[in-house]
């Protein structure tokens, strides 16, 4: 009596297990089949098509024109809702003062937003100049290479952007950027940086820093268009990128860049 009931129980278990395995296999097969049909690139995302019809943005900063007024840094914070704490900047200005004894004095109080004062007396100054800094929008950028989740990328227009929904806030990119252009947003807890005002570019507006620059020291343009203002400027001036030895493919060119700039 007891034997027959246990045998029946086994039979039941076996049949329900078989049923479960069958339906699980069907479900898995269907999912795999569907994802395969949806796109043929289920496993590999190596190819990065570059759309030739889109602009390929580059930036020029003319050090000779910069007067260190801080309009760019202020406008950037307002346009992009960058936290007001003095150590978060998407763009900022540094004042370099090379003294007669060869030492270099570099200051950037509040990123230059409140203006600069020359603390070195005139007779000690060998030369002095302002260097606005921002994301170099590198075409071989270290920050993209170290991102473990694919949350930062080079857009088809050559703008290095962050996917805020995908970023896990691991800070690898902050450490990888040789120009110190990234920070962790204190509220969103994800990486943040200059987007070349991507939201403005898409509305045919100039980036906020370039909109407000009173001397026109900042310029952006299409590197693919050989007749653009930017390419003309690059042809006619001696320009250099920061840290060319690192081979980051930086697309931010400085005019009249001194060797003291780091």
């Amino acid at each position: 009596m007891s034997q027959s009931t246990s045998a029946m129980g086994n039979e039941k278990i076996k049949s329900s297990r078989r049923k479960f395995l069958k339906s699980a296999a069907t479900l898995a097969g269907a999912t795999i089949g569907y994802s395969w049909l949806k796109s043929s690139q289920v496993l590999l995302f190596a190819a990065e098509p570059k759309d030739e019809s889109l602009p390929w943005y580059g930036i020029v900063i003319d050090i000779e024109k910069c007067i260190g007024c801080g309009s760019c840094a202020k406008a950037c914070k307002k346009e992009n809702d960058v936290p007001i704490e003095p150590f978060f900047f998407r763009t900022w200005i540094e004042q370099y003062t090379v003294k007669n004894d060869g030492s270099v004095n570099i200051v950037s109080p509040n990123g230059g937003i409140d203006g600069f004062e020359q603390t070195v007396p005139d007779e000690d100054i060998f030369k002095s100049f302002f260097v606005p800094k921002m994301c170099n929008h590198c075409s071989k950028s270290p920050c993209i290479q170290v991102c473990p989740v694919g949350a930062t990328y080079d857009s088809p227009e050559g703008v290095v952007l962050i996917d805020e929904k995908y970023c896990i806030g691991c800070r690898y990119c902050v450490q990888a950027c040789p120009y110190g252009c990234r920070f962790i947003h204190p509220v969103k807890k994800v990486a943040n940086k200059c987007t070349l005002c991507y939201h403005r570019l898409k509305k045919n507006l100039t980036p906020a820093c370039m909109e407000v620059c009173p001397t026109g020291a900042r310029m952006y343009g299409n590197l693919r268009d050989k007749n653009s203002e930017l390419v003309k400027f690059l042809k006619e001036h001696t320009t250099q990128v920061l840290r060319p030895n690192l081979n980051t493919g930086a697309k931010l060119y400085y005019n009249a860049l001194s060797s003291e700039v780091r």
Binding site: K65, G68, A75, E79, A151, P156, D163, H199, T215
Partner: protein, 154 residues
């Protein structure tokens, strides 16, 4: 002759098949739809990045109403300076039309951001004033019209 496959190999193969399909199934649900559309990132993120509201309206938006200032500005050295450099972000003002939504900065410190003397400024880049000597105690706009700085007020 029939090829002999040891049962442990069959089981191993089965285990592999299960794990690989499990991986592919999980992957299907975990990888976002647009990932890989343009490269190794979520394609929809491009749209997300284009979404934020603008705060700076751009000079053309200002000139649509303030034609008079455009004409005034065009005659003097501040012609190349866009309105929002001094007046701050203007999109809110463009939408509301309220004059309280735009900045009207005054004071020596504000003008000094550009015009204060500093060895780091190129001589020809901007007209520089020694704020410690130039008409101390007076506000810049008492003599200069910011839109037309060299038309002195009497």
């Amino acid at each position: 002759m029939k090829l002999y496959i040891p049962p442990q190999l069959t089981r191993l193969a089965l285990a592999f098949a299960i794990f690989i399909s499990l991986f592919l199934v999980l992957r299907h649900f975990l990888v976002p739809d647009t990932f890989g559309q343009y490269g190794h990132y979520r394609g929809a993120s491009l749209i997300d990045n284009a979404q934020p509201e603008i705060h700076y309206a751009g000079q053309q938006a200002c000139f649509e109403c303030h034609q008079d200032i455009q004409d005034l500005k065009a005659q003097d050295v501040h012609s190349e300076i866009h309105c929002e450099t001094c007046h701050g972000p203007g999109q809110k003002h463009v939408l509301s039309g309220e004059s309280s939504d735009i900045l009207k900065p005054t004071g020596r410190e504000f003008c000094g951001l550009c015009h204060a003397m500093n060895a780091a400024k190129q001589k020809n880049a901007v007209f520089q004033v020694d704020l410690k000597k130039h008409n101390i105690g007076k506000n810049c706009i008492e003599c200069h019209n910011p839109h037309q700085p060299w038309e002195m007020k009497k």
